[in-house]
């Protein structure tokens, strides 16, 4: 007893002695510790997505064929369930419990015209807008105005009984109008990249047997094209705002008579009053004609990809559902595409935006390799669709060299938040981080960056995990990074928008979209048992032309079940 009390007394005395040393420094230290604890508790929050969802992002089938890996699917569409087929369009008046239709491009335009929906499904009617960005200014088009043009152009082409229309335009509202006119008025559209030499264009028209051509006035030599394309019966020029006063009706020698040449804005002027502001009635059970794009392959000619309507809607629906509900396109968004609409990923993301009643901005300089700062100048978008080439160029040329010590400090703090699974909010550190790297940008409202990479594209354009983190920190926007391939509408795979993990090396591409499934083929049975299967990427599903295709590139499924390209 005495012994115990003496120990207690000793402790008491020791504590007494300790506290007796309390002084001003001690108070300061205690204050710092208290402040740090308060900060550390108050700043900690749940990550945006449960870490387990990032640790296994797709499901592999329990059975595999010999020489192949298991088949991997998005978590949205598990094995044994159908892949995502379409937009699930519910017609007004249809019973509430019926399954929706797959839909087609016409339903997308109709949804855009109908306007936004309230959360309870009633129509709020707020329409999106379409902007054409020309340098620093943006021209606004209302959807009813575009519908009018759509009707004029559609009727003009229908009257001339053309079946296949080649569209060779820069990204513009006319390009979108022509695509939708094709869906409503029943002609097949072929989107030809606009900057091709006349010989290549001529060969494309020949190959597609196009009987009509929509092109920019003055951009190509008609005599050369018509010489090799006897089937061509109609040419529709789209004149830029600056040169509308000129006479574009001139027809080259030798083809006069059987070639119908007209100018877009004149047609619209003439017939505007005769057409309605609503789209024509259509039978939803007969699918509209398809849409073709040219996949740039290593050979000059490129490869024609004939998408059917069902491929397109399945891909659009999958691109939409790949984003979590809070991150999807909404009527308050302005989606800017700085990647060419001749490529299926940007085109279908724009369609997705229209279907979600978001506003869309199109840039005439858009393409695979553009200057990110210049292309985003005219408007203040909330979502940007760009190619991996554009982003990696901008990162290498501007962001990296302009990262000074202050930016690095800001980046370090922000990337810690990202590592913890949260998107950093705008604060002093985000301002610090952006001092150098993005000083020339004016992207205050930007919230999402959709980047696509071609599977057969230049390996130097592939973005690394580190670069994606840089983009998140410096632009303050979330990033999705998608892999595209020839013959696959939309994308093969796309990263989870909440996946902020900074891994080493080139970034993975997330899980397959819900419209397709991925199998790796051509594996030797000896390596099959490896934990990371590697082989040629074979893609099948409703978004794939002729439902199955095998890419020339090899890929692997890494430990978190994400798709990677093997270099």
């Amino acid at each position: 007893m005495a012994d115990q009390s003496s120990i207690l007394q000793q402790i008491d005395a020791a504590l007494d002695g300790l506290v007796a040393d309390w002084n001003i420094y001690t108070t300061i230290f205690a204050g710092i510790i208290a402040a740090f604890v308060v900060y550390s508790v108050s700043s900690s929050q749940d990550p945006d997505v449960h870490p387990f969802l990032l640790a296994r992002q797709s499901t592999g089938s329990p059975i595999r064929q010999k020489g192949e890996s298991a088949t991997y699917r998005s978590l949205e569409t598990p094995h044994g369930f159908p892949l995502r087929l379409g937009l699930n369009v519910k017609d007004t008046g249809a019973p509430k419990w019926t399954a929706g239709r797959r839909g087609d491009l016409r339903d997308i335009w109709k949804a855009a015209l109908r306007g936004s929906l309230n959360p309870d499904g009633t129509v709020a009617g707020e329409q999106g807008k379409i902007y054409t960005v020309l340098g620093k200014q943006a021209i606004e088009h209302s959807l009813s105005q575009v519908t009018q043009e759509l009707n004029v152009i559609g009727r003009h082409l229908q009257k001339s009984e053309v079946k296949t229309v080649a569209i060779c335009l820069t990204d513009s509202v006319e390009l979108l109008t022509a695509i939708f006119a094709g869906a409503f008025y029943g002609f097949k559209t072929i989107i030809v990249p606009h900057n091709l030499p006349a010989e290549t264009l001529s060969a494309h028209l020949q190959h597609a047997q196009a009987d009509a051509l929509i092109a920019e006035a003055g951009s190509l030599d008609l005599s050369l094209v018509t010489k090799e394309n006897k089937q061509l019966s109609l040419v529709l020029w789209v004149a830029k705002y600056g040169n509308r006063h000129m006479d574009w009706h001139e027809v080259p020698e030798g083809v006069k008579g059987d070639l119908n040449v007209s100018v877009w804005h004149e047609l619209v002027e003439e017939q505007k009053d005769l057409t309605s502001l609503t789209v024509p009635e259509y039978d939803p059970n007969t699918p509209p004609p398809g849409l073709s794009t040219v996949w740039p392959s290593s050979s000059q000619a490129g490869e024609f990809i004939d998408f059917q309507s069902d491929n397109l809607v399945s891909a659009i629906a999958a691109l939409n559902s790949a984003l979590p509900r809070t991150q999807r396109f909404s009527p308050s968004d302005l989606v800017l595409s700085i990647d060419s609409l001749a490529r299926s990923y940007p085109l279908l993301q724009v369609m997705n935006a229209l279907f979600c009643n978001a506003s869309v901005a199109l840039n005439s300089v858009a393409g695979e390799k553009v200057d990110f700062a210049l292309a985003t100048m005219g408007v203040s978008p909330t979502v940007i669709i760009a190619s991996s080439r554009t982003m990696s160029d901008y990162h290498d040329r501007v962001m990296k060299p302009h990262t000074g010590p202050i930016s690095s400090l800001g980046r370090w703090v922000q990337s810690r938040t990202l590592e913890a699974g949260n998107m950093p909010s705008k604060n002093i550190f985000s301002q610090l981080a952006r001092i150098g790297p993005t000083a020339e940008l004016s992207l205050d409202k930007l919230r999402l960056l959709c980047i696509s990479h071609r599977a057969d594209g230049d390996a130097s354009a592939r973005l690394s995990s580190e670069q994606l983190t840089d983009l998140r920190v410096y632009t303050g926007a979330r990033v999705v990074y998608a892999l595209t391939g020839p013959g696959i509408a939309g994308a093969i795979a796309q990263t989870n928008v909440f996946d902020y993990r900074c891994l080493t090396g080139p970034s993975h591409f997330g899980s397959p979209l819900s419209s397709i499934e991925v199998t790796l083929t051509g594996m030797s049975e000896a390596n099959v048992s490896d934990s990371i299967p590697e082989g040629q990427i074979a893609v099948s599903g409703p978004a794939v032309v002729s439902s199955k295709t095998t890419l020339s590139s090899r890929g692997r499924i890494s430990n978190d079940n994400t798709l990677e390209l093997s270099s």
Partner: protein
């Protein structure tokens, strides 16, 4: 008294007093705990996928569930892995005759007897041509139930079929 008054004063204002050192080390520990590198979340990989195989009646026979072996049975050329239902289809279960065999005829007849099985393992597969509509419907519903519950791990072909694996 005067000396006593001044010296403790100097000691009190010292920054290196024990309590300050304790607080400082506490702060360092907190800092480390806050900034320590956190290991990435890794989920264990699921079981490796089963390879789809082509079986003949002879090679299928060994998958009858004896010992630790899985239980397979074939319905109209599709081989189902019914190991999760080993109590029924495995040794000692009511359907044990079907384990490792072509069960199509037995299921169609709703009979678990030995004579429902094709005795000669080298013979061509049972073509089931003599079944009536009721029996075919029976078989169909069994097949649907199997497809819902169990995995198709292979297909069954007759001995000597061009697709049969060389033994």
């Amino acid at each position: 008294m005067a000396t006593e008054g001044t010296t403790p004063q100097a000691e009190v204002m010292s920054i290196a007093s024990p309590i300050n050192l304790i607080l400082l080390s506490l702060f360092v520990v907190l800092l480390y705990w806050h900034f320590r590198p956190k290991p990435a979340v890794v989920l264990p990989r699921g079981p490796a996928p089963v390879v789809f195989r082509t079986y003949t009646p002879k090679t299928l026979l060994e998958f009858n569930g004896e010992g630790d072996r899985p239980v397979f049975l074939a319905v109209r050329g599709r081989v189902f892995d019914v190991t999760p239902g080993k109590n029924f289809y495995g040794p000692g279960g009511p359907y044990e005759n079907f384990a490792g065999r072509d069960a199509s005829r037995g299921l169609a007849h709703q009979s678990f007897d030995e004579e429902m099985l094709t005795k000669d393992l080298s013979a061509p597969l049972d073509d089931l041509k003599d079944l009536d509509a009721d029996q075919l419907e029976n078989l169909q519903s069994w097949e649907e139930r199997f497809s819902e519950k169990y995995l198709v791990v292979g297909k069954l072909v007759a001995e000597g079929d061009p697709e049969a694996p060389a033994s």
